[in-house]
């Protein structure tokens, strides 16, 4: 990446102090953003292992796109992505003005690199990268998606920076005032950050994904090449991951979710929901009761513990509607409940309720669609 590339970024030109630009190693990384200017660092969600990690340049995950659209609501200043890998500028929303990355890529044996990449993504390393980026650029806001990844790294980074983070934000009212749920979403708190750096995580279902319309003038800086990456710590090491792969859409981002509860009665019966999901091109979810009973694996769990989803259509079959389950799906646009118990609390949040035996209703619904 030649230093002349930096000239091409309009946002940098207006702010940077000119150093010896012809010398590749003396890049004016400090003072690129003037102090007191609002600027945001978005921590990119790492790409899942099931996506091709053999690409040198990757694209952004949906969770990151939601974090970017949240960032756009904070202020009109520059938005920088912090990523493990380089991102192609055509894969960036136009609002993104620069990318900082640590040059992770796949070369050599997949297992070795998965371990290396995985270890780079442990909280101890990611928060050190955030600290380094903050030292270099003095961002006013640092934002991450409120995924398991973001929830793992952001509070540690906040502690290191001496800040108190605000997590799981569902609404941004200004650059310092936010709304977040408490008590499983049964109450909402409007909260104002008083410290000079705001560390935030945002609930991805509350922010539309920013359009990937390309940012051709964005600067892509390899912090590793610039020797701006602290040596990786060695105390915590990635060993392996257990990812369930499926042809169905990802539960967290699917437009349609068919979910089963205790009323499904067995793991085999889940096939009924899978058929309906396939007809509708949707994902399958489960309540905690169904997972505890062994009817479904726990990465299908929707609820306060588990995934928070907000699809266009959520069909709850044999789910009673406990507070903790509702907190994970009550922002769905349309909720359908199928349950033989007319007093089940799920009917209080359902737009359309069908009091019927799901073993009759679900196959019939599948047949008629």
């Amino acid at each position: 990446m030649s230093s002349s590339f930096l000239y091409k970024s309009k946002s940098l030109l207006s702010h940077c102090k000119l150093g010896r630009m012809h010398d590749k190693r003396t890049i004016p990384m400090r003072f690129i953003f003037q102090k007191n200017h609002a600027s945001t660092l978005v921590i990119a969600e790492p790409s899942s292992s099931s996506s091709s990690s053999s690409e040198a340049m990757s694209s952004l995950m949906p969770a990151t796109l939601s974090a970017i659209s949240a960032a756009q609501k904070l202020h009109s200043g520059p938005i920088t992505i912090l990523s493990d890998k380089a991102i192609d500028t055509s894969s960036l929303p136009s609002a993104v003005t620069s990318v900082l990355h640590i040059g992770a890529s796949s070369s050599g044996t997949p297992d070795k690199d998965k371990s290396l990449c995985g270890s780079l993504l442990v909280a101890e390393n990611v928060s050190a990268h955030i600290q380094q980026a903050q030292t270099l650029y003095s961002f006013s806001h640092i934002i991450a998606p409120a995924t398991k990844f973001g929830s793992n790294i952001l509070p540690r980074a906040a502690a290191i920076l001496g800040m108190s983070p605000i997590t799981d934000i569902i609404e941004i009212l200004s650059n310092d005032t936010f709304v977040r749920p408490i008590y499983a979403g049964n109450a909402l708190a409007k909260v104002q950050a008083t410290q000079n750096v705001k560390l935030l995580s945002v609930r991805t279902t509350a922010f539309e994904k920013a359009a990937v319309d390309g940012s051709p003038a964005a600067t892509v800086i390899n912090l590793m090449e610039e020797k701006q990456v602290p040596p990786p710590q060695t105390l915590t090491e990635f060993v392996k991951e257990n990812v369930s792969s499926s042809d169905r859409p990802d539960l967290a981002t699917a437009n349609v979710v068919i979910s089963g509860g205790r009323g499904i009665k067995s793991a085999e019966n889940f096939a009924l929901l899978e058929s309906l999901a396939d007809k509708l091109g949707g994902a399958v979810g489960a309540s905690r009761a169904a997972v505890d009973a062994g009817y479904a694996p726990n990465d299908l769990q929707v609820g306060q513990t588990g995934k928070c989803v907000a699809p266009e259509l959520y069909i709850a079959c044999g789910i009673s509607g406990a507070i903790q389950h509702l907190s994970g799906m009550k922002d769905s646009k349309t909720i359908v409940a199928i349950n033989s118990d007319r007093d089940a609390p799920i009917f209080q949040v359902a737009d359309y309720g069908l009091v019927d035996d799901l073993f009759k209703a679900v196959p019939e619904l599948t047949r008629q669609l």
């Binding site: 990844f149 749920p181 105390l235 257990n242 513990t305 359908v336 737009d351 069908l354």
Partner: protein
């Protein structure tokens, strides 16, 4: 190995909370040990029961009003050896005392009172504030390795092998050596019920008392809660009589299934 377990007294998980003028109404509301803290206590006690872990003692720590002592007695009835209560009347449900101050109080306890802690176990989040920050923030303040959302904890040499929940499934990480901070997720274990003999024994176990403001920690909320309100109510739904009607409504009213 010496284990410190965080224990929070929160509104019971089954309570339907009401929002009043000053936040969620807590008067006369049933309070309990936070479910994820209960899982952390169970994890600590199981490690103690595992001879290979050589746990010398398990100390429970709670920060809050005087009723926290009941919560600590429950933790000791489950098997914690003794407890520490840091007294404060500041509201811990996000309104006043927030995660950064809580984590700093934990840090003070570890650095000044219980100097040889090898493992801190906390729940992944409290079900009132739903922040999930104390674990990773404490790890950051102490610069200790961390494992959040732990679904399985195994001893591994001088350290731990932890399987943790991720968005795609789980991942296994290795912490080369202790001390470390681990936050516990739902699937880690099923907590035991305290038996009556253990409840009686717990009454005699020691609780050391401190005041929150005797530690050099800023207890003020850096993030000011301006208002607490109920989420907008969903428009009331309707009941349909059969699958045909459901499909009709979904197509023609909700504009779906085109």
């Amino acid at each position: 190995m010496k284990i410190l377990v965080g224990v929070k007294r929160v509104v019971d998980y089954a309570v339907k909370v009401r929002v009043g003028a000053n936040g969620v109404e807590l008067k006369n509301v049933k309070m309990s040990l936070n479910p994820f803290c209960e899982i952390a206590v169970e994890a600590a006690v199981r490690l103690k029961e595992n001879k290979a872990a050589s746990v010398s003692e398990v100390v429970a720590l709670s920060i809050g009003p005087k009723q926290c002592q009941e919560t600590l007695r429950t933790a000791m009835a489950m098997g914690c050896d003794r407890a520490i209560h840091i007294h404060t009347d500041l509201r811990g449900d996000y309104m006043e005392l927030q995660s950064d101050s809580v984590a700093k109080l934990f840090q003070k306890v570890i650095e000044e009172k219980e100097k040889d802690v090898d493992l801190v176990l906390v729940g992944k989040q409290a079900i009132d504030s739903d922040c999930g920050q104390v674990g990773p923030m404490l790890a950051g303040y102490l610069n200790w390795p961390q494992a959040t959302f732990a679904a399985k904890i195994d001893l591994d040499g001088d350290g731990l092998m932890v399987e943790r929940e991720t968005d795609q499934g789980t991942e296994t990480i290795k912490i080369a050596k202790l001390p470390a901070v681990v936050s516990c997720d739902l699937r880690l274990n099923e907590p035991r019920y305290a038996t009556l003999p253990n409840i009686m024994k717990a009454k005699k176990k020691k609780i050391d008392q401190f005041q929150a403001d005797e530690f050099d920690v800023d207890l003020t909320a850096k993030n000011k809660v301006l208002e607490v309100f109920e989420p907008p109510a969903r428009k009331e739904g309707i009941t349909v009589d059969n699958v045909n009607q459901l499909i009709d409504k979904l197509k023609n009213e909700a504009g779906l299934l085109q």
